[in-house]
Symmetry: D2
């Protein structure tokens, strides 16, 4: 499978490296508008063709797929062109800048029978996979809430608010673990730069049956926290991504609501048991993502990080931004 | 000063113990409707008079003040009676069940020249005092945000939601440190018990100049977290109340927004310096609170945890509850 | 059972409180040489007889047992007198100041059929009990090493070195978990006060089959550490006594030495599995110790913290002190 | 400066990479006995000459220096040959397998005016440099003890005990910070593999004026700990090398021994102040080491990680091994 990498900035080199080492894959081209970026490609990989002309890549019938790692504002145009030339497309997250664009790309890909995938790399980490397995096995019970904190003293993005920057990770995990879409969004945030782009934001997703997901995102925290609580009605999980070997803690801890027909009160039975820190494998997420992309193309299957998840992330971010600008108004999805 | 303690349940014994050891104070009565509770008083303090008749206390001209530690629903009636009999009043938090009740009590106390105080004990901890001093000294700069997490597997209250139970601590700290009142409230929450009382809730307070305070409260977290971030534009503080000797961490960490007249972009200058963990004294908060109450009465001064803070906490909780029931609607204060 | 408490300083009040609440026990006397100490007894427990005359207690045939909580230098004389008057004896740790004294007390108690017990309270903590159960069940396999760190900025004792102060806890745990006595002792230490009493000391216990126990004790550490590693050949335990709810961590982690007949090298197979943090009960250790003392007297059984463990702790401390003064010379036991 | 790298196993590639990027340096040759290793060199650095013939390197007058990263048993022969051919030598730690070999190499280097240096990389970390600066500035006062723990579930070495593997790091740091050599060594250890090579070992270094350094090294700990306490009489430092951004904590904590001429007792005054976590730079240690080597050659100065430190590390390890095999006998240095 011949893959062309579009964009060789921050993430492009990681894609090149992983596609180069994936069995059955090769990187045929790297495209970038900057000659300086392309020179770096040649220095590291003299065998890869470089170009500033996208058509060269798209017209080449040997090109099977493109992986697009450019600023989000350019995703739609680039992906559309590539799909229309019959190329499978991998898009960096977030998928597009607007929901309508995501819908349009999905429509085109579907009509042409092409694979359209979004690189939500987190879905390929061993930690997330383990959580999904625990949930699927029934060990955790029904998920009642997800509570995520992703804060640090981070780089302010100039074109998007902090949710567009940080929340796609957690929203995609949430989509994958919850296995259902939220029915409403509500978000608040503030900007300390004089712009309308919040640098602190709090996002809530509402689900049927009183499930809720909460996301605390900030570029202005002195401490770095990457933490997610998944509360099931049987067990609960704490996912701390900053831990090196103890990323997951499974708490046999919870409560049950007891039937109490006689009186008008809530009886609750608390339960505190052992904590387990499962051993997690060390596989590289990006490498697994690349293989899933290849596999999806070859077998015409839906990859784990599929365009539906990608689109829902954009839908949520778009609604969240609107909610922030409207003082936290509830947005039905 | 003769103080009568009204209510000898969970908190009452702490009040008795602290008023008994405060110089110049004595506990003249303990009132409770339960004889069993009163028997406990007699066992520990044979010298204290016990009664199930409130009037006995209020009619006794030797009673200078009453401290009320009963369920919040009874605060208003009890405090009103006591004030009307010319007694100074200390109320446990939250002050009252409704804002209108708090306003009415303040009106009565003011008209009679009596001290009306609310026991937000946290304001008397050495940690909060240290933070207030750091802010007052200018070291922290302007506060830009407060972000608080107070979660654990806690007892479900039957008559109030999780905010009424847990948030008064953090809201009172916020009032004390911010030195200004919020202009809007927005909150969301869910209940997993079938009632309307949220057991997970997220509260946002909005201030002038894009300041924000966020409170994450939950009774259903497997881990106990008691943490507050205070972000100033010079330094930032992390207050971790579960630490025994290292409750505060002061980060010389932040960013400045640089003037950039020529271009339409935000230039930000990051700064990472040392972290300081200041030594904090070991004084008991409740004992300091009791002394502040006595001092406020004697000198007719406003105590640190005054009725204004108490009232604002109720105002916020009342608005937050309404917001939760209205899908996170913004409530102007 | 009537118990007299000898010594009402730091630990005596805890003994009084626990014997008072133990079913079937009552404290008949408290002895102390200080009238001030005795006044405190009367204030808290008006019903307990106080005395400065030990004979009053020992001559009283209603006295079944005495609990001795005086400085270690006085243990031998007091316990000897009490035993000779037919009283069962509970001694605070360390049992005596010299091994010969411990042996003499054991000889007397045995000859008179009396219970002689040492209060190594740690053996009654839920953490230590849980470890013992894990070891007894075979889950941990054969213990290969114990490595203990007990350091902080502590009070310098004036008459004993840091090992006599801090190590009895860990040595008694070691005796209890290992279920065999060490065959040799080696220790080093330094004093920074000009005396011969080490304020930092390192103690090694040697066991058959290359087992080892290491104890790091210090009064001059800026951080407080109370940590013990127990390495079995199946699993390993980390006991962190400063944790409130997560005191034990059980690591399914280890290695096996593989047979390698052909070549002259060691083949080792590493194993890394889950970590479990078991739920530990909240029972008060001292209360369980008091019941064990009562039970041992009534049923003429050997208590968990028996005089053999008490004596071995003294033997080890005595040998360790000698080793320190002889530049770490190995002392056969 | 032309440098030849001898040995391209675990550490060799790091040396090549750092010498290649050091200004004014180039790697002229890589030597290894394995063709497979040399092929890797060519793949990454086609411009570097490879050889299995050491003489080719040593005979080449363009070779200024060699860096030796082979097993310690071969260090002496290789370094001797290189020095005798007039080449400056950088040796990986530990310097040699025997003290006599280290002495001989130093003698040769001195007589020929050549630089002989040992790569104790830790001395070039920003953490160690910061500690040295704190000590030199007088902030810490006189060092009274160093207490180091370096344990984890590690690879058993087949030819050396755990001290030869792990302790060189800490001993070199100790030498650098203490600025004086120990006068005695004492060590104990056990082997669980049936060999004489201890896999757990405890090493004590004795210094004049009752200073002590203690090293706890183990290949069989379930938890990884890399921690060093440096106790000064003014302040104390905790160096936790597993922390990513908070490696050092400086405690304004300690005690003073008060004069007490009248009575025979020790009066001690405790002091507990703030804790500071200084910001530490992010410079790569190995790169700084390479520059120090180059600088030492050019300016005929003694590098930070000089042959004296290298030799003392070997002297201590040799004495420690002897002490272990003699039940912890004290070894004068």
């Amino acid at each position: 499978m011949n893959v062309a990498i579009i964009g060789y900035g921050y993430w492009g080199p990681n894609l090149v490296r992983n596609f180069m080492t994936a069995p059955g894959c090769q990187v045929s081209y790297v495209f970038d508008t900057s000659q300086k970026a392309l020179d770096k490609v040649t220095k590291s990989y003299p065998e890869i063709a470089i170009t500033q002309d996208l058509n060269e890549i798209l017209k080449d019938s040997a090109t099977d797929a493109v992986a697009i790692a450019t600023p989000v504002g350019t995703h739609f145009e680039l992906a559309k062109k590539a799909l229309e030339q019959g190329k499978h497309v991998l898009l960096e997250k977030p998928m597009t800048a607007k929901l309508s664009e995501a819908n349009e790309l999905i429509r085109i890909a579907d009509s042409l029978g092409l694979t359209l995938m979004v690189d939500h790399t987190y879905l390929y980490t061993e930690s997330v996979l383990k959580m999904q397995q625990l949930i699927e096995s029934g060990d955790i019970g029904n998920i009642q809430y997800i509570d995520s904190t992703r804060i640090n003293l981070g780089l302010f993005q100039r074109d998007v608010n902090v949710l567009w920057d940080l929340a796609p990770h957690d929203i995609s995990i949430c989509m994958y673990l919850m296995q259902e879409a939220p029915i409403g969004v509500q978000a608040t945030g503030v900007s300390h730069t004089g712009s309308t782009l919040a640098n602190i934001a709090y996002l809530n997703l509402f689900y049927p049956n009183n499930k809720i997901a909460h996301f605390n995102c900030s570029w202005v925290s002195p401490v770095k926290i990457r933490q997610m609580l998944i509360g099931g009605d049987k067990k609960m999980i704490l996912f701390n991504d900053l831990e090196t070997t103890e990323k997951l803690r499974i708490y046999d801890k919870g409560y049950s609501i007891l039937p109490d027909t006689d009186r008008e009160r809530i009886l609750i039975d608390y339960r505190i048991g052992d904590i387990t820190i499962p051993k997690i494998g060390q596989g590289e997420a990006l490498s697994a993502m690349v293989l899933d992309f290849k596999n999806a193309i070859e077998n015409k299957t839906s990859p784990r990080s599929n365009s539906y998840i990608g689109k829902e992330v954009v839908r949520i971010l778009e609604a969240a931004e609107k909610s922030i600008l409207n003082k936290g108004q509830y947005m039905e999805l």
